[in-house]
């Protein structure tokens, strides 16, 4: 299993928990954001859960690009890669921000 698949699996676990969907029903092309059924509060929950799980930062202005599950997975993969590239990209105040407990 490659990295994207691993991230997808971990993200799917979070989605299934938050959105109350069976994990094996979640597909990469599933709509995340533009679906009227989806509660925006759940999206915020998912974003926070992903940040915690992968130890990354998801910028709020990027969230609207997560139209499908795989957009989100790609974003996480890139964030992980960038995090690896230069640890000190985020400023101290960002890392000490209150929502990183």
């Amino acid at each position: 299993m490659n990295n994207t698949e691993k991230i997808f699996k971990q993200a799917a676990a979070l989605i299934s928990q938050i959105f109350n969907i069976r994990e094996d029903e979640i597909r990469p092309e599933m709509s995340l954001y533009d679906d009227p059924e989806i509660n925006p509060l759940d999206v915020a929950r998912l974003i926070m859960a992903c940040e915690k799980k992968f130890d990354i930062m998801i910028h709020d202005e990027d969230v609207h690009t997560f139209v499908r599950v795989d957009d989100c997975v790609r974003y996480i993969a890139e964030a992980l890669f960038e995090g690896q590239q230069s640890i000190s990209v985020s400023s101290d105040e960002e890392r000490e921000a209150w929502y990183y407990e």
Binding site: N2, N3, E5, M48, E61, E94, A97
Partner: protein
């Protein structure tokens, strides 16, 4: 005669040893291939099963070590696969060599050593590994040029180490079939005319063939030219332009093999039918690394929208009966593809960040992050060699950076609001985050309105504002009917964009008009700085007279490092008048400082009679000579009405087929005429209608509009409806020239009513 028989025996022996050697090497290569296959399979088996072969996980931080480990295996496998492929290529070459290992021999005495060597020339080279001798020389090797350029007597050739002189004492050409020598003959001239005549008198093949056996001296000079970065060839119909272009590509690839240069080639062909027609030549010469493109495909790829095809534009222009409507379309096309419009587009791109982008203050959480003037200054201040889209992206990142710095504080504020509101006491953090996501999304959408460029929308706006357009065009020579061009563009673009907004899939006929698509593609290239084909080193452009300055400007940006071979005939342009100025425009637009123009005025395709007949459609002072091969005189048939016309045509087609001609072209001025002829005749004789951009083999009887027939050839050609309604203008004269020069052996013209004044 006795001498000939003796020589024949010797040549036969020599051929047999060569063929045996080819077979031996082929078997060895086959065996090597099989062991390699086993090796690849074994290497693949060694690869850990749970690793993925895709690069999708490349960005992983966790899996970096896995990736390193995998790459060691993958490298081994991919190396072996590449070897395997080249091995396969070699075997294909050996297979072709076993049938015809070589086609000619020259005996060359080197001036400095006075040694005489028999040089056999074939499609590929062959070396005897035991004696380290070259048994057959590749036709592209330096010494082979002696065969193409000289008769017996003093000769020289350019080798990498300098010019080598010597003397040719024998020139011999072989006819070898299936590995058996049929006959040979010696001659002291360049290429034996008899040999060429025999080849030319054959029927046209459904696909273009290689001409390595019969390359002429002036053709050889063009093929082997490596001094110039831009080679332009003006050649009359049937002079072998396309063949030369393709052989030159093969030659340059052969040369590049020894160097480090990447040897990617792109061929631009006028349509899909032609693309298929020439598709066999380069693989037959052993080159696979070739991409064939039609310009519309390039446009489509760049602007990501449906584009009107050139054939449909031509059909529109040629079929139009309304002269004023035709004139507008023509001047719109001419203007938008001109250097003047290119300059306007350049000024437009310079102007976009200054006047056309609605920069706005960036605000976040009710506070000003960056004022509008500062954002604009950020864009204008950057290095101007960066494409505009890149500069805008940087400004975008700059705004994001500032917003992100304020976010922790903002989130804290939001959380306090939520708690104070007492409506979500347990979920305050999540709720605050949701609000933050919402406001950030709204904020970034406002920013994107000016940091992301919609090229089509900007282009449409350029034509909506006459004043702005004239301001950009200040000082440039505009056509007299500029206002009409602007009005026409507003109308057509409005229609297209209206359609695009309604549905994602516009109807089959809709699409961005050809000229606008070209302009949009050019804009997209200079705004985004895309480099889709930056590694291409060789570009071959066929039917160059049909392209406009803007086409060449697009090529310049697309293939910045390439050398060009450009082939055309100014007498075969379809909708515009071309003259020799074309060959000064091309180097200027392509920005090449070392161009050369070569002219070919000998036609090899048609019989002397057909060329003589076609020459009447050319203007004064144009020279076209024919290779001395005679045939039937062209016929002009008159019919009383259209029924009689169809009867006469059916009779002619039958007679052509009875004469064992393999391909018969029935050429009509427009697609509508072609459909009509097809409907009347296809019950009587099996035939094919070729209209849109289909790619079919040209065998049997094909009915097609003239715009599709360009560059093709047929054993016999029937030109339909040569009457005083359809063929009257100067444009029509060129169409008749194109139609008549498609014929190899037999040509006939048909009309009902009054004959065209041009015939």
């Amino acid at each position: 005669m006795k001498e000939y028989l003796q020589e024949f025996e010797q040549e036969k022996k020599r051929l047999d040893t060569t063929v045996t050697l080819v077979r031996l090497q082929m078997d060895a290569a086959q065996q090597a291939l099989e062991t390699k296959e086993a090796g690849i399979l074994a290497a693949k088996e060694d690869m850990p099963d749970d690793t993925a072969h895709a690069v999708a996980g490349l960005y992983s931080a966790h899996n970096f070590e896995d990736l390193v480990e995998l790459s060691q295996y993958a490298y081994l496998v991919s190396g072996q696969v590449a070897e395997h492929e080249s091995e396969g290529q070699k075997i294909r070459q050996f297979r072709s060599m076993a049938l015809t290992p070589y086609f000619s021999r020259i005996d060359f005495t080197f001036e400095d050593t006075q040694e005489c060597e028999s040089i056999y020339i074939g499609r590929f080279s062959l070396r005897d590994d035991a004696s380290r001798e070259i048994v057959v020389y590749d036709w592209r090797s330096p010494i082979a040029s002696v065969f193409y350029r000289f008769g017996t007597g003093k000769a020289f050739y350019d080798a990498p180490g300098g010019t080598i002189a010597g003397e040719v004492s024998l020139k011999r050409q072989f006819e070898i079939h299936q590995g058996v020598l049929d006959y040979f003959f010696d001659a002291d001239v360049q290429i034996v005319d008899e040999f060429l005549r025999k080849l030319l008198s054959q029927n046209a093949a459904p696909q273009m063939k290689t001409i390595v056996e019969t390359i002429q001296k002036d053709q050889d000079i063009i093929i082997r030219d490596s001094e110039h970065d831009l080679v332009m060839v003006q050649g009359v119909a049937g002079s072998g332009k396309t063949s030369i272009g393709l052989h030159r590509a093969a030659y340059l690839m052969y040369q590049a093999m020894s160097g480090l240069a990447s040897n990617q080639i792109v061929i631009l062909s006028p349509n899909k039918l032609f693309e298929r027609y020439i598709s066999n030549v380069l693989p037959e010469l052993g080159e696979k690394n070739v991409q064939t493109l039609v310009f519309e495909e390039v446009f489509q790829r760049l602007i990501n929208r449906r584009v009107q095809s050139r054939t449909s534009l031509l059909e529109h222009l040629i079929a139009s009966r309304d002269p004023s409507a035709k004139a507008v379309v023509k001047s719109v096309l001419e203007f938008k593809m001109s250097e003047t419009f290119m300059e306007i587009l350049h000024r437009f791109v310079y102007d976009i960040p200054r006047r056309w982008i609605p920069f706005a203050d960036a605000e976040y959480a009710g506070r000003l992050v960056m004022p509008r003037r500062l954002i604009q200054a950020k864009v204008l201040q950057q290095e101007h060699s960066f494409p505009l889209a890149v500069r805008l992206k940087k400004a975008h990142m700059f705004i994001c950076h500032h917003v992100r710095k304020r976010r922790p504080h903002r989130l804290e504020t939001l959380r306090r609001y939520v708690i104070a509101g007492k409506r979500h006491p347990f979920d305050a953090k999540t709720f605050a985050r949701m609000v933050s996501i919402r406001e950030s999304t709204a904020m970034i959408r406002r920013v994107k309105a000016y940091t992301e460029i919609d090229v089509l929308a900007l282009y449409v706006r350029l034509f909506q504002d006459d004043r702005a357009f004239y301001r950009l065009a200040k000082g440039l020579p505009l056509p007299p009917d500029m206002d009409r061009i602007l009005a026409y563009t507003r109308e057509t673009l409005g229609a297209v964009c209206g359609l695009c907004n309604l549905t994602d899939e516009p109807g089959p006929k809709a699409g961005i008009p050809y000229a606008d698509a070209a302009a949009l593609a050019y804009l997209e290239l200079i705004i985004s700085g895309r480099r889709d084909f930056a590694d291409i080193r060789q570009v071959v452009v066929d039917e160059a007279q049909d392209y406009y300055p803007l086409h060449y400007a697009i090529l310049r940006v697309l293939f910045p490092k390439a050398c060009y071979t450009i082939l055309g005939d100014i007498h075969q342009s379809m909708e515009k008048e071309a003259d020799t100025a074309l060959y000064t425009t091309i180097p200027r637009v392509l920005d090449k400082d070392n161009p050369v123009l070569m002219t070919l005025d000998k036609s090899f395709r048609s019989t002397r009679e057909i060329i003589g007949f076609s020459a009447q459609f050319l203007g004064e002072g144009v020279r076209i000579t024919s290779f001395s091969r005679s045939g039937e005189a062209p016929m002009v048939h008159k019919a009383l009405d259209s029924d009689a016309l169809h009867d006469q045509m059916a009779a002619e087609i039958r007679s052509c087929l009875d004469s064992q001609y393999r391909s018969v072209g029935v050429l009509c001025k427009t697609e509508r005429d072609a459909v009509e002829i097809y409907q009347h005749l296809h019950h009587r004789i099996p035939m094919r209608l070729i209209c849109t951009d289909v790619a079919e083999a040209l065998e049997g009887v094909s009915v097609m509009p003239l715009s599709m027939a360009k560059g093709l050839e047929f054993d016999a050609v029937l030109v339909c409806h040569v009457d005083n309604i359809r063929y009257t203008s100067e444009d029509d004269r060129r169409l008749l020239y194109i139609a008549c020069t498609r014929a190899l052996h037999r040509l006939s013209l048909f009309y009902a009513g009054e004959e065209s004044p041009l015939v």
